[in-house]
């Protein structure tokens, strides 16, 4: 048995309500005024209405009120013209082309459907309707009609309308509360006034835009992907999509944003601590794999910002979701003393093809063709490391080590994770000597090691490490000469390659309180690729 068509109640131009199904067969004719094929079809609708009166309900369903009135006038229409100017019935009937002609039986099941104009289709549908009516077909002079003529696009599939209709349909994927703005309210100002932005304008997340964003994933919009600290709020994909719209993301970025949020909302990463610390840390994202190219991410000139939509908006979407759903708002639970530019966004692809080494995700056990995000809890912004003179890997890695010693404070050693971004020219210098990443890390450790006596707090620099950190009480002069490397282990120095071809500069992101007591970097595969 054919499926039943959606039921409806629509009013005609005399404000009479027509419901479907009625218990009689029906011929439903979707039309719009500015479609010449619809105009050509109107006399056939009128003729069918007369021929089948009382036996088959013949109705025109028009897609805009003003146009409907014109069609009635132009064709002296007496058949009911039902008003579907909000296009909900056109959408529910999956009408993509007008005219669409549908013959339904008495129970409302679809028997026949065609689009545009086709003489044979019309003859068949009229014959079948006549059979259902138990009468005869209308007399049509087919010689004045072409054999066939294509229709026009339905108003329900015009850009913007389709997403609005999808959002409003009863089977809509949207479940979040929707807020209606006043007629004179500026939607951009509204977002500021409600405290929903990071200080920059956001794109208002209208239902249409959120629907378009959700097209970026096949996952259920109501799936809860994480519980977000500090408020421990359930984070649905719909909420992520709303924040991704606000950030300026394209739908194909959504799977990356989802993977990052899943990665940061783990116990290891400890987003609660990263967002609330007075020290100032931010989730810093590295993207690896072919998806970098597919999303048009910038890993070359200016890779660490600004100017690229994917780099900028993926990181921003993550931060907005943490703020708006998790409740990490500056001055409330977000307590950073100073903050920094990375608090807006911090998302960078690695230029894998330009690196002499395995990319970050391969080092972490993924396949090169996998798409992976790695999140670090780091200082909210890069620090520049200048070295224009080193010509050997040994000298350059030594320079990088000396610069990295300043992370947090030169006297604080036994430090956790950092992210070192080596530029192409620096990578070339190291590559010429054939050094591995392990050699670079070891040299950094060597160059940044200091004797304990230089790490103790003193009158010249009060910060430092107390003797108890080294298990010492009354150390000998010799014990104080023991050299302590900057990092707890060489693997804490995470290295990627990115940046413009010209410039002997690298950059580093200092760490936060890293390790099991604070934050540990987390990698996660992006399962869906656009």
């Amino acid at each position: 048995m054919p499926d039943s068509l959606p039921s409806f109640s629509l009013t005609d131009h005399h404000r009479r309500v027509h419901s479907f199904p009625t218990g009689r067969p029906a011929l439903l004719c979707f039309v719009k005024e500015d479609c010449p094929t619809c105009g050509m079809t109107m006399p056939l609708i009128e003729a069918a209405s007369h021929a089948f009166r009382g036996e088959v309900d013949v109705v025109a369903i028009g897609q805009d009120a003003a146009g409907n009135a014109l069609l009635i006038e132009r064709h002296n229409l007496t058949a009911p013209m039902l008003d579907d100017s909000d296009l909900k019935i056109s959408y529910a009937y999956s009408v993509e082309i007008v005219p669409t002609i549908i013959l339904a039986d008495a129970r409302g099941a679809e028997l026949r459907r065609f689009e545009g104009f086709d003489e044979t289709d019309w003859q068949s549908v009229l014959a079948e309707a006549a059979h259902l009516a138990g009468g005869s077909e209308p007399q049509i002079d087919w010689s004045v009609y072409p054999k066939s003529r294509p229709g026009c696009g339905s108003k329900s599939v015009e850009p913007g309308a389709a997403e609005r209709l999808a959002a409003e349909a009863s089977g809509s994927r949207l479940r979040a509360r929707q807020i209606e703005l006043g007629a004179d309210e500026d939607s951009f100002e509204f977002m500021f006034e409600r405290g929903l932005t990071d200080g920059l304008p956001v794109v208002p997340p209208t239902p249409e835009r959120v629907m378009r964003m959700l097209a970026g994933t096949r996952r259920d919009a109501q799936e809860v992907i994480a519980t977000v600290p500090p408020n421990l709020a359930p984070l649905t994909i719909e909420k992520v999509a709303a924040n991704a719209v606000m950030a300026g993301c394209r739908p194909e970025y959504l799977p990356v944003v989802l993977a990052v949020l899943e990665a940061v909302c783990t116990d290891e990463f400890n987003i609660h601590g990263v967002m609330s610390t007075t020290a100032g840390a931010t989730p810093t994202i590295v993207v690896n794999g072919p998806i970098r190219h597919r999303l048009g991410m910038n890993m070359k000139i200016g890779a660490l910002g600004s100017g690229n939509r994917a780099n900028a908006t993926i990181g921003r979407a993550v931060k907005l979701a943490l703020r708006n759903v998790g409740g990490a708002r500056p001055g409330e639970i977000e307590r950073t003393a100073l903050g920094g530019p990375g608090k807006y966004t911090a998302c960078y692809p690695e230029w894998e093809e330009r690196s002499p080494w395995e990319p970050l995700h391969v080092e972490r056990g993924f396949r090169r063709e996998d798409n992976v995000v790695t999140v670090f809890g780091l200082e909210p912004g890069p620090r520049l490391i200048v070295d224009q003179l080193s010509r050997t890997a040994h000298a350059l890695a030594g320079s990088l080590g000396m610069a990295l010693e300043s992370c947090w404070h030169p006297k604080l050693h036994g430090y956790g994770e950092v992210l070192l971004v080596i530029s192409p020219e620096h990578a070339d210098t190291i590559k010429r000597d054939g050094w591995t990443k392990a050699q670079v890390r070891n040299r950094i450790q060597e160059a940044s090691a200091r004797p304990i006596r230089e790490l103790l707090p003193d009158a010249n620099a009060g910060e430092g490490m107390a003797l108890r950190h080294f298990g010492l009480a009354n150390p000998s002069a010799e014990a104080l000469e023991q050299r302590i490397p900057k990092f707890r282990k060489p693997e804490n120095i995470n290295i990627i390659v990115a940046g413009g071809e010209a410039g002997k500069f690298s950059s580093a992101f200092g760490g936060w309180f890293s390790g099991p007591m604070g934050s540990i970097s987390v990698s996660r595969k992006i399962e869906e690729v656009p």
Binding site: L174, A176, R177, Q178, I179, E180, L181, A183, E185, S187, F190, M191, L196, P204, P205, T206, P207, V210, V228, P229, P230, N231, A233, P234, E238, K239, A242, N243, M246, D267, N270, H272, G273, T277, T278, L320, A321, N324, V325, G326, G327, F513, P516, M517, G518, S519
Partner: protein
């Protein structure tokens, strides 16, 4: 007419009244160290002074595993079950 999808957590937070302030210190006082540097120094001193000033007061020490994460549920439950007051040393 513009509509927007609410991008926030839609839950309304519960507000709770503060417990009324007791007139006398008695029972068990929990001293919670969140393990920030020198928090233990502060709590040692508080423990010493409270013992002097309120004889008979029971003082019980607790420690969070790390200051960077919220206190584990078990620890919170234990403190609530075992004590009448909590003094938390935020330190720094």
């Amino acid at each position: 007419m513009t509509r927007i999808v609410d991008p926030t957590d839609e839950r309304v937070p519960l507000s709770r009244m503060l417990a009324s302030r007791p007139q006398h210190l008695s029972g068990v006082v929990a001293l919670l160290d969140i393990v920030k540097p020198r928090g233990d120094v502060l709590l040692d001193r508080i423990e010493e002074r409270l013992s002097e000033r309120v004889p008979g007061l029971a003082l019980k020490r607790y420690r969070k595993p790390t200051f960077a994460k919220p206190a584990p549920d078990d620890l919170r439950r234990r403190i609530a079950a075992e004590s009448d007051f909590v003094i938390e040393a935020l330190a720094d």
